[in-house]
Symmetry: C2
Subunit: 321 residues, 2 copies
């Protein structure tokens, strides 16, 4: 949540001049993105998000990410398109760092969704899965099951510094997931990180799906499980069944799940919870307590994992629609 790089007015004016978007009118650094810097830029022709890729996202992946935005947007998905520069390039370099100019979309992120909103999010997620079907790009999911094992192995005995019960839960669940993970469910390009702050809404309508920097080729129903794990719990981890049901129902209505995918939702949700537990536990133990980033509590997803372990089969009843 920061702007890591200073861009002067001259830098910004010169950059905007490389695009056919009019003249710079305003630029405000915005408090979004964990590893990128972002500015809300206004020109004489419109508003845009300017993103500077600081760390994690490799320039080698940008053609995939930015091409995906263009593909989905062209198909009518509520996804910001990439503005290409006058030479047609989707991104440019400033002092060796890649920057991209991206369409600004209206809407606000929802903390406490209503069922009608959750249903719309499920529909929108199915929509991007369908729209991505003929996208030619492919990208491996670098945060799939082998990565969870590796991240948690790297934490080792230090997991007990987070919570005494964590090692047992992790060992038991990793073994289960590795033994039982479904390999043959339908795949597409998935978002893989559709938390509420990556969805913009206007009332009950999804006006924007953003931050595709974990997008990859993987099981579509796993993306729904990630979204379920991210949306269906209150701040203190109470399960909100109406939200989970609305997400799945909205998804299923737009893109019917196969019965195999439906049956796999409980294990996919355990995997989704494990994925965020793994990255958060790793970051928790490897980020100095006084660092400039806010560490996210891994135990939130440990509790959701335990919830899915105990209740997953009853939570994911096959949708009626």
């Amino acid at each position: 949540m920061a702007v890591y790089t200073h861009l002067s007015a001259d830098d910004l004016e010169m950059l905007i001049g490389e695009y056919d978007v009019g003249v710079l009118v305003s630029a405000k650094g915005i408090a979004e993105g964990v590893s990128n810097s972002n500015w809300l830029v206004e020109t004489t022709t419109g508003r845009f998000i300017l993103t500077m890729y600081e760390h994690r996202v490799e320039a080698a992946d940008l053609p995939f990410f930015l091409g995906l935005l263009d593909h989905l947007s062209a198909k009518g998905s509520p996804v910001p398109r990439t503005i290409h520069d006058r030479a047609g390039a989707p991104f440019r370099l400033i002092d060796g760092k890649a920057v991209a100019l991206i369409e600004f979309l209206p809407g606000v992120s929802i903390d406490t969704p209503r069922p009608g909103q959750a249903r719309a999010v499920g529909e929108a997620l199915a929509g991007i899965h369908l729209a991505a079907a003929d996208f030619p790009g492919r990208r491996e999911n670098t945060m799939a099951l082998p990565a969870w094992r590796k991240l948690l192995d790297d934490c080792g005995d230090r997991l007990s510094e987070i919570d005494g019960s964590l090692s047992d839960l992790v060992a038991r669940e990793l073994d289960y997931l590795e033994a039982s993970w479904p390999g043959d469910l339908p795949r597409s390009v998935i978002h893989a990180d559709l938390f509420p702050d990556n969805v913009l809404m206007l009332g009950n309508r999804v006006s924007g799906l953003i931050d595709f920097y974990f997008a990859c080729t993987d099981i579509m129903a796993y993306d729904l499980a990630v979204t379920h794990a991210a949306w269906s719990f209150t701040g203190d981890d109470g399960f909100r069944p109406a939200i989970g049901e609305a997400l799945v129902a909205g998804y299923h209505q737009r893109r019917p799940l196969t019965s195999e995918a439906c049956q796999a939702l409980p294990i996919l949700a355990r995997g989704a919870a494990m994925r965020f537990l793994a990255s958060r536990a790793y970051d928790w133990l490897h980020t100095p307590a006084d660092a400039l980033v806010t560490r996210k509590d891994p135990m939130v997803f440990a509790r959701r994992l335990a919830f899915y372990e105990e209740h997953g089969k009853t939570v994911f009843r096959p949708p009626a629609g």
Copy 2:
């Protein structure tokens, strides 16, 4: 440079509903303000800055600050007006914290001004001094000479932790300033903190003067001296005479300085440099190195103070215009 408080979409919608500004369309936390949280808010009728006053600014001072914006704006100064709520209040409370909705102004902040831009800034500063002449509000300058002495006394021997030469410079200059500070120069409400990041420009035009949260009743020429100390040096403290001259000339053209004020500029500039040296040195020694705020280097203003001590009389030749 952060957003300290989370406002949910529901919070924001409810708040915006209290104003006659249409329906919420977008809200982005912006990386501006040291002690306040700020959002760039878009509604169906326009764009606004929403400010939440977190710490330093006391609610008791808000009628002064916000009333000043309205007064200056009504007189045609490039200052954002305060949007009043449906009941006419200039600010509201959310969970005990004051929030205000303020007009959005276009423009970008300049790092490296050109003389034509500095001249426009001098003119704009004179313009708010003139426009403030009949503003009924008064506010003591809580960062005037007695405060510099107090802040630096509180640093005590620890000044040497910053730099070995600092104690001597501070002792010598504080004695000089206390003995010679001019008491009888023309006063008005002044901005008192017009650094480049508090000025928005479109080309050579000043489109916005913002962040009036140090505004107070004090010597007008001191405000020009503050602006001179803030604008006329490069990042590595090279003096830029053409910028300083353009600032003073632009000011003088719009509001001619008295000969007493002209003669006082060297000491006022030493005071201005001391004011920022004092607050930065205090913050440097009282902010943990691992805090979430970036400490500003006090030595920048120690060097500018030493520069004005040595060269002030030749720098501030009486303007020709």
